[in-house]
């Protein structure tokens, strides 16, 4: 009923809505918002398909056999599994949630969550294409992102509390004789409804920042490497670019030294407004409030260390 009313109301208001779009900024923002949704929904659906398959056909016992029993060892193994899933960050959230539901240690599932969008082959190739003059950027990105995933996972094994992840994320699929294909279909349906709204929320925020953040934020940063690192980390969070596209944006900011651009590439796939919204919706707000700041700190540190290691002092000066 409420849905009908919403649709009817919006149809009546179509004229004014279209009129509002005359303002150039609003129009650009609306296009960017729809673009983010259209780009991200297929990846979210891909993630829920994997999640549904896990729920229907992969028993917790199988996962226990694949993963080392000790969380400290399971973390790097799960992170390495991220190498083979060429998805955006939107795809990895439902998968990580299902892994937790199937009894995988939280820290390992979170390492997978961080690794999958950051260090898969598609992203690494895109990075190589975007930085033809700096092939070392690929290695630096791989190193920084892998260290971030494993680092956050290890920290979570020490400090993580079971209560931080909402109970609804852990409920196992039914074992009451429901046919497996029905479990699959229902898991996909349910996960899309659960996460979709939050994806839209993140898309709204990212679209607003994309049109509102002025170019002057990055002009004049070239000589201030510490400030540039901070601004690029913030931009990575606010702009919420897909990990397949962010290398091209980073490459275009050629006035900046390599180090702050590497920070942009390592922070972006790990934490951004779209992901924070998705994680709050999937794992609960208590989780997102702790996980996002932790990830930012670890990602920036790992990126800076990886940058200094790979680029040497040259990365800070250009």
């Amino acid at each position: 009923m409420a849905l009908c009313a919403t649709l009817l109301l919006a149809t009546l208001l179509q004229g004014p809505l279209v009129g509002l779009l005359d303002a150039s900024t609003v129009r650009t923002g609306a296009t960017v918002f729809v673009a983010i949704c259209v780009q991200a929904l297929p990846f979210l659906v891909l993630g829920t398909l994997l999640s549904g398959a896990l729920a229907a056909w992969v028993s917790p016992a199988v996962l226990r056999r694949v993963l080392p029993a000790r969380p400290a060892l399971a973390v790097p193994v799960a992170g390495a599994a991220g190498l083979v899933l060429p998805g955006c960050e939107c795809a990895s959230v439902p998968v990580a949630r299902r892994l937790i539901g199937q009894g995988v240690p939280e820290a390992a599932a979170l390492a997978f969550l961080l690794a999958a969008p950051a260090i898969n082959p598609v992203v690494l190739v895109a990075t190589a294409v975007a930085f033809p003059d700096h092939p070392e950027m690929v290695g630096a990105r791989l190193l920084g992102s892998a260290a971030t995933a494993v680092g956050v996972g290890w920290i979570w094994t020490r400090v993580g509390r079971p209560g931080w992840i909402a109970a609804r994320a852990r409920r196992p699929p039914p074992d009451d004789g429901t046919p497996r294909w029905a479990v699959f279909s229902e898991t996909v349906r349910h996960d899309v409804v659960d996460a979709g709204g939050f994806l839209v929320l993140g898309g709204l925020a990212a679209a607003a920042f994309t049109v509102l953040v002025p170019r002057s934020w990055v002009d004049g940063l070239a000589g201030h490497v510490v400030l540039a690192v901070a601004v690029m980390a913030l931009l990575a969070v606010l702009l919420a670019l897909c990990s397949e596209a962010d290398a091209f944006v980073a490459a275009s900011l050629s006035a900046l030294p390599l180090l702050p651009r590497l920070v942009f590439l390592v922070v972006g796939p790990a934490v951004d407004v779209k992901l924070i919204a998705l994680q709050a919706g999937t794992f609960g707000r208590a989780f997102a409030l702790r996980f996002a700041p932790l990830t930012v700190v670890v990602a920036v540190s790992c990126a800076v260390l990886a940058g200094l290691l790979v680029f040497g002092g040259q990365g800070a000066t250009g």
Binding site: T25, A35, V249, S252
Partner: protein, 251 residues
């Protein structure tokens, strides 16, 4: 949100995804390779919603329905936000990005990554080149083959963002480049020099839309380097108006 509403909403979301692929408007938002994923996602969403609808009609919703709150599979209020892209795509269908996107962070310049500088130009008189291709060639070699022959380039007319070099008109030919979706759009530009006065009266498009033209001319040697922000100067020989290209972006 009740279970029934969720089903309807998912059919709508899946339906608009299918619709924008079939009518081609998806090219305003994403690249052409996204057609298949978007279409498949739409079909999956419609299918799982219909499966759930049929199963609900045949019997009571499964009691052990995992992950749901106890209240008969209701979803939280955030799920309502899925209405927004549906409405946007059904009622408004936001237009492709144009000169309006040159203002914000989208004003970043696209990186020159595509063509090696000394690739021979396509055969023929004044071969048609993409704007990104031209910028990439001059970035790699500002005195390369691209400066030795006439070329034709399409784009929309925009005022120069930076102070134009001596001899240029203050007008640019611009194009937006996307690598994944419109959210990562970046601009490539050519400064226009007009030694023979062909461009008199040409102005950027107004509220009714961008002004798209094709220009035949020659790249001024030595331009398009880091010094001018990788914006080469194109000396105009002649130009003619064109319709907005589809897709509107370069890749």
């Amino acid at each position: 949100m009740t279970r029934d509403t969720q089903h309807v909403l998912l059919v709508l979301v899946g339906g608009v995804l299918i619709k924008i692929v079939l009518d081609g408007s998806y090219l305003r938002y994403v690249r052409s390779w996204s057609a298949t994923p978007v279409l498949v996602a739409g079909v999956v969403l419609v299918t799982v919603a219909l499966v759930a609808l049929v199963r609900d009609l045949r019997g009571p919703p499964p009691s052990g329905d995992h992950g749901h709150d106890l209240s008969h599979g209701r979803a939280g209020p955030a799920a309502w936000l899925l209405v927004l892209p549906v409405l946007a795509l059904l009622l408004v269908v936001p237009p492709a990005l144009g000169s309006g996107a040159l203002a914000g962070f989208g004003a970043r310049a696209a990186p020159a990554v595509v063509t090696p500088a000394d690739d021979p130009l396509p055969p023929g008189e004044a071969p048609a080149l993409g704007l990104l291709d031209v910028v990439s060639r001059t970035a790699a070699n500002p005195h390369g083959p691209v400066t030795e022959r006439d070329i034709t380039v399409a784009g929309f007319v925009a005022p120069s963002a930076a102070t134009p070099p001596a001899g240029a008109t203050g007008l640019d030919l611009a194009r937006l480049v996307i690598s994944c979706c419109a959210a990562d759009a970046s601009a490539v530009r050519l400064h226009l020099a007009d030694p023979t006065g062909r461009l008199s009266g040409v102005t950027p498009g107004g509220a009714e839309g961008d002004r798209w033209i094709t220009i035949r001319g020659r790249i001024v040697g030595g331009t398009g380097t880091a010094a001018d922000g990788h914006v080469p100067t194109l000396s105009v020989t002649t130009w003619w108006p064109i319709a907005t290209p589809d897709p509107v972006y370069e890749y």
